[in-house]
């Protein structure tokens, strides 16, 4: 009797504690922004990473509402989202905003046939296998409630509100705990070998 009672108390207490731990942050952050998903959150203030060219996501994805996958075109086909090739930049910037100093930097590089050396912002450790392709399919293409044009809502689950950033900033911790919580909430695979290689 006593054992069962104490056991029950421990379990119930832990349940309550767990609930609290799970959902404390929902007070701060609005609910899931991708329909049909649970969205993990965490107090992480973000890390700024300087770049050789002050590329502004705000202008491209925010103000001009360019779809993320227009530039990060590999995301739906590969595990890496990829940095757009310089030719893609020049596709527009031979015409648009050629007078800006950052664009002139870019043009100079293009003419020399060099690529800028970007600093990685969202860099997972080398022992982690993360595939953009599968995540996009799960949250975007297979998601009846979301239109493909809303890709950035899916992207922002891990990358934060990129559309509001000037230079990309790491705004989610991207730790194992971060991944696990999302996998638990959205019933992603829990097999270690899915992510660890």
């Amino acid at each position: 009797m006593v054992v069962v009672l104490v056991g029950a108390i421990i379990v119930i207490a832990a349940q309550i504690l767990d609930q609290k731990l799970h959902y404390t942050s929902t007070d701060v952050v609005p609910g899931p922004i991708v329909p049909g998903t649970q969205y993990p959150d965490e107090a992480f203030t973000g890390i700024d990473v300087p770049q050789p060219i002050d590329f502004s996501h705000k202008i491209h994805a925010g103000d001009n509402e360019i779809n993320c996958m227009f530039c990060h075109t590999y995301a739906r086909r590969s595990k890496v989202s990829g940095i757009p090739p310089l030719s893609k930049c020049m596709g527009c910037h031979t015409v648009i905003a050629t007078e800006k100093p950052e664009i002139q930097k870019l043009t100079a590089m293009w003419e020399k046939g060099e690529s800028p050396q970007w600093n990685k912002v969202h860099d997972l450790p080398d022992f982690v296998h993360f595939t953009h392709q599968r995540h996009l399919k799960r949250f975007l293409f297979d998601n009846q409630e979301l239109d493909v044009s809303d890709a950035k809502r899916v992207c922002s689950m891990c990358h934060g509100d990129i559309a509001e950033m000037t230079v990309a900033k790491k705004s989610r911790p991207l730790t194992m705990g971060f991944c696990i919580r999302c996998h638990e909430a959205n019933e992603g695979p829990s097999d270690c070998t899915k992510c660890h290689k």
Binding site: T175, M176, G177, F178, I180, R181, E184
Partner: protein
């Protein structure tokens, strides 16, 4: 003490303790042992520190270069680290045995010697605990075996005997430290009352305001008893769990059902042998002849012999069950132990562990301090060899013949093994100078109760009523003494 005096003492000392010893002398003798380290102490300390430094160097080396220089290999993933771990865990059983079991059965001759035995328990555990950590390939992640909550949602594997080890050792270390400490509180109060300076501060803090009132004593007695009751099953479980590191494995020579009792017996055995060694050392260096007496030594020796026989029996049972069980790989391992390249060590273990204890039957040996010292050390060498002979030959001869090979430990491993003795010695040497290594209050109790018993025997109470000289009058000091 001169040779002649020693010889004289060995012939005349027939009682566990002289019940007329003055209580003040007890305090004085023990407190003296804590002061003014002499040259021998510093030499011992220097050796211990030197050994320990070598261990640190080896560990740093291993940290940088990996487990390779230890010459572990694909078949021998464990070697001396684990066998020495088992050895030290075994050593730790002495204190528990002497303190808890003998306490429960009211064997009061334990009282003068249990303190250092308990200290030995604690320090052996602290030494043993090092080995599972340093044997890890990625020692910097050792805390992953602890069941702590992380946001990663991963836990240790509670099915692994290594986790059981971690739990058992933690529990055992906590409990034995508390046992040692609680039993020491009245003595710490004595120290507090008789020292000055930093020692006074330390003892005041540690004695928790002990002032010997009856409530404290009563609670103390029950606490001590309770912890002793907890400790005995714990001690048994700890070494059973250590044995399960092997018994739970599938390997021939490890997968043996008699391992838990066998390990416990071996642990008690090596613990008792170590008590004899330290008994002789302390008695010699601290001139504790009046407390650590020959009759007590006799009892310890006899106890050791009995446990040695239990261990030998279990050993033979294991051989017999392997032999008649006719599991070919197990039999191959047994034969390889006896005839293979490790044979000298195997037979050394048999000689030291099974046959040498018979020397303890001789009173002449028991009274010959130097010889007994050598014997007790050899018993422990035998027990160390036993652990090595459990770990390594099985790995050399497992199921798949591809893995058969002979491996001799590299320098890193030897440095760690040697260093563990340095570490233990260092802790023990610090202990004997900071804490009383003979329990003063319990020696007093022993004296007091024995004296009462004697008085009762001669119907002393009658005499007392008639106004015969009391103990106070008879003694040179206020109570007792001759």
């Amino acid at each position: 003490m001169s040779e002649a005096a020693l010889k004289h003492l060995s012939e005349t000392q027939t009682k566990d303790i002289d019940e007329n010893i003055a209580w003040a002398k007890i305090n004085r003798d023990v407190l003296r042992s804590m002061e003014n380290p002499r040259r021998g102490y510093w030499i011992a300390m220097a050796i211990s520190v030197a050994l320990f430094s070598v261990m640190i160097y080896a560990e740093v080396y291993q940290y940088i270069y990996g487990m390779g220089p230890a010459l572990l290999n694909t078949s021998h993933m464990w070697d001396l680290y684990i066998s020495t771990f088992v050895f030290w865990i075994g050593m730790s059983h002495s204190g528990t045995l002497l303190s808890a079991i003998l306490h429960l059965v009211h064997a009061d001759w334990r009282k003068p010697i249990y303190r250092f035995a308990e200290a030995m328990t604690t320090f052996s555990l602290m030494t043993a605990g090092i080995f599972p950590v340093i044997h890890l390939g990625r020692v910097w992640n050792f805390y992953w075996v602890m069941p702590y909550m992380t946001d990663r949602g991963i836990w240790p594997n509670f099915r692994s005997p290594l986790i059981w080890d971690a739990f058992a050792i933690t529990t055992y270390l906590t409990s034995s430290v508390l046992f040692l400490y609680i039993g020491m509180i009245p003595d710490l109060a004595i120290c507090r009352d008789n020292t000055t300076g930093w020692r006074k501060k330390l003892y005041t803090w540690l004695s928790l305001g002990w002032h010997g009132d009856d409530r404290q004593w009563r609670n103390f007695r029950i606490t001590y008893l309770m912890i002793a009751c907890f400790l005995i099953p714990l001690a048994v479980s700890v070494h059973s769990i250590v044995s399960m590191d092997f018994a739970m494995a599938i390997m021939p020579g490890w997968h043996v059902t008699t391992f838990p009792p066998y390990f416990v017996a071996g642990a008690l055995y090596s613990g008792c042998a170590a008590i004899i060694t330290l008994f002789i050392l302390l008695r010699y260096f601290f001139k504790f002849e009046e407390y650590m007496t020959f009759p007590i030594l006799d009892k310890v020796c006899k106890l050791t012999f009995v446990i040695a026989m239990v261990w030998s029996y279990l050993n033979l049972v294991e051989f017999a069950s392997v032999w008649y069980g006719h599991d070919i790989p197990s039999k191959e391992v047994l034969l390889a132990k006896a005839y293979g390249p490790y044979a000298p060590f195997f037979w050394g273990m048999i000689a030291f562990g099974m046959f040498l204890p018979f020397a303890l039957l001789s009173k002449w040996v028991r009274r010959n301090m130097k010889l007994l010292f050598v014997v007790s050390v050899l018993l422990n060498v035998g027990m160390w060899l036993e652990r090595w002979m459990i770990v390594t030959p099985t790995l050399s001869m497992s199921y798949h013949p591809w893995g058969w090979n002979i491996m001799w430990p590299g320098w890193v491993e030897w440095a760690m093994v040697g260093g563990s003795f340095g570490w233990f010695g260092m802790l023990f040497l610090i202990f004997v100078k900071v804490f009383p290594c003979v329990s003063m209050y319990e020696v007093k109790e022993m004296v007091f109760h024995r004296k009462r018993t004697i008085y009762e025997d001669v119907d002393e109470m009658m005499v007392l009523h008639k106004g015969a000289p009391t103990a106070v009058e008879a003694g040179s000091t206020k109570n007792g003494g001759s």
